[in-house]
Amino acid sequence: MKIKAQVSMVMNLDKCIGCHTCSITCKNVWTNRAGAEYMYFNNVETKPGIGYPKNWEDQERWKGGWQVEDGELTLRSGSKLTRMLKLFYHPEQPELDDYYEPWTYDYETLISSPRKKHQPVARPRSLITQQRMEIKWGPNWGDDLAGGDDARADVNLKKIGQEIALEFSDIFMKYLPRNCNHCLNPACVAACPSGAIYKREEDGVVLVSQETCRGWRHCVPACPYKKVYYNWKTNKAEKCTFCYPRLENGLPSVCTDTCVGRVRYMGILLYDMDAVCDAAKIPDEKMIYANMLDLVKDPNDPAVIESARKSGVSEMVLKSAQESPVYQIIKRWKLALPLHPEYRTLPMVWYIPPLSPIAKNFEDRVYLPKSEAMRIPVEYLAALFTAGNTRIIVETLQRLLDMRAVMRQKEIGETLPQNLEFEPLEYERMYRLLGIAKYADRVKLPAGLQGKTHEELRELQGSTGYACPGGCC
């Protein structure tokens, strides 16, 4: 057992309203520059939908993530040798039009237009070619089920085998915000020929070294979530950094901080690094979620604490892990699920699945229905979060329903449901964390992730720009 710390995130899809504040704030901080303007480190998709880039979930086409061959994990995009052959042309690389061609407008026309017969307008032009452009696709083209046929092309719909017509009468919809999952078994790291992408030992954040990156761009197709991007100006790869400069100071990522609906949670998970490979390569993909849960260790277990200390996990990080809201949600209450565990990258951004309104054709006469009576088909959620295991979805949703039942009982004295999984007090804690969701409860990050000694910090004090002539800092 080798215990390491991983910064992890949970998103409560039951509360996400698809406002896209997270996308805008991330973009304004990180990707508002030429070469990166088309990148959304964080984007929000409407599901059903093909998302951004187009149909990224179709691994038959994109060959992202891992697969198991002869009991071993290999990247779906091929062996190391195959990768070398794809150096000069990579058939599975997404191109600009799979994302969208970024544009702006000739705003100056509005101000500088001379007297004319008709009112002036600002027209779009491409940020790549600087030429006049017709807008034919964008990073969120299918918002709120815009473009029905695109929504129907969602591979998850195809996977569940039912006939989902998406007519007005049976329509369903939810929002899926996504950023880099900072996986335990990242495919992007494995695919990079120059070793420029790495996972940080201290907190598990996955980063691309802008020095070492040579622009081979193999990471882009390798990531099954398509969360590594190619900068067409610097010709290097970029990705969500989990806002690590903020993490190192105990602050959450910008998306977490600015989330209007308070749906995001950040905290530390302790995991067993030695068991990662075995967890990922289990042949039955429906078992991967269970394996991931096993990887996450109890931060109060003395054996875990000892191993963590041995591996260099600091006391502050340990304490943080013990207070971790994401540990509560993921492991203790089992409310959050990984996105597409069948990609085998072991993603560390987890999702609480959404409840949804009662389907019109269901005649239940109760306040809180069963999950099968809800609009969003359980099979659809299973295709997203459990590699098709509907039982887990039903159980997870039931916990949310039980929480509501317990809180209702507390207010008006209705009878509690039978066979509750937890004590009523536990559900109240759940309600406090999910319903009230105060900032201070949602974010528990140690500020001491710099990993520097006292002397080192002393050296650095006030030295930015002055120390290291020649700029080697």
Binding site: S194, E201, W216, R217
Partner: protein
């Protein structure tokens, strides 16, 4: 003039190549990239990219043999001049066709697609010109020689030994005296290429990821 061209310029070229590239690596690793433009124009790269690079590798291999392996050696193992030329052409013509053809397609792609502008710096444009001239003098010269337009010129008796003498730090300028103009031009072109090498995207040639085969799949690093 020939003293400079064949006795001094090669050393200038090598020096700039090595020192310049080292300097760039040291201070400008941020900008060290393949400058891949597949993102901007994928379909047109499908054939052109592999074709060009394959031809390049084949041509490079052919150059290594043709220049560094002395005639005396091949004679010694019983490969006649004629046989050598058959082998060279059998490898070289396809290499040249791939190289040239790929280059042509790449040029069409680069200058025919408006999206490629953002991936094409001024240096890239000069590089295209330099590479083009290098290619055309080399391939052209080879073809002309193969059909006998250059008399019975044998580069293995002039250029190759000259090059080896340069490497040995004792340049034999005389060897280049009667080399046909087109091959002389080819020589000048490689030297120009070497001089601009550190200023262009060509540095990516040095980054072939050999270490990838020896590396762990997942890389951890301390902060």
């Amino acid at each position: 003039m020939s003293g400079f061209l064949w006795g001094a310029l090669p050393y200038i070229a090598f020096t700039v190549l090595i020192v310049g590239t080292a300097y760039r690596y040291w201070t400008g690793e941020r900008g060290w990239t393949t400058k891949s433009s597949e993102f901007l124009a994928k379909d047109s790269l499908k054939v052109a990219g592999p074709m060009f690079h394959l031809g390049l590798l084949m041509a490079f291999g052919g150059h290594v043999i043709g220049i560094l392996v002395p005639k005396s050696l091949t004679d010694g193992v019983g490969i006649s001049e004629h046989l050598y030329h058959i082998i060279a052409l059998a490898g070289g013509i396809p290499a040249g066709l791939l190289f040239f053809g790929g280059f042509f397609l790449l040029m069409q792609r680069r200058f025919g697609n408006p999206r490629m502008k953002v991936n094409t710096s001024t240096m890239d444009v000069w590089l295209y010109l330099v590479l083009f001239l290098t290619l055309v003098t080399g391939f052209g010269g080879t073809l002309m020689n193969a059909v006998g337009l250059l008399g019975d010129f044998n580069y293995r008796e002039a250029i190759s030994p000259w090059f080896r003498s340069v490497l040995a730090m004792s340049p034999d300028v005389e060897l280049m005296a009667d080399v046909p103009l087109i091959f002389k031009a080819h020589m000048v072109m490689w030297m120009i290429t070497a001089i601009i090498f550190p200023l262009t995207r060509l540095v990516h040639c040095l980054s072939f990821p050999f270490e990838y085969f020896l590396r762990n799949k997942i890389v951890y690093r301390r902060k």
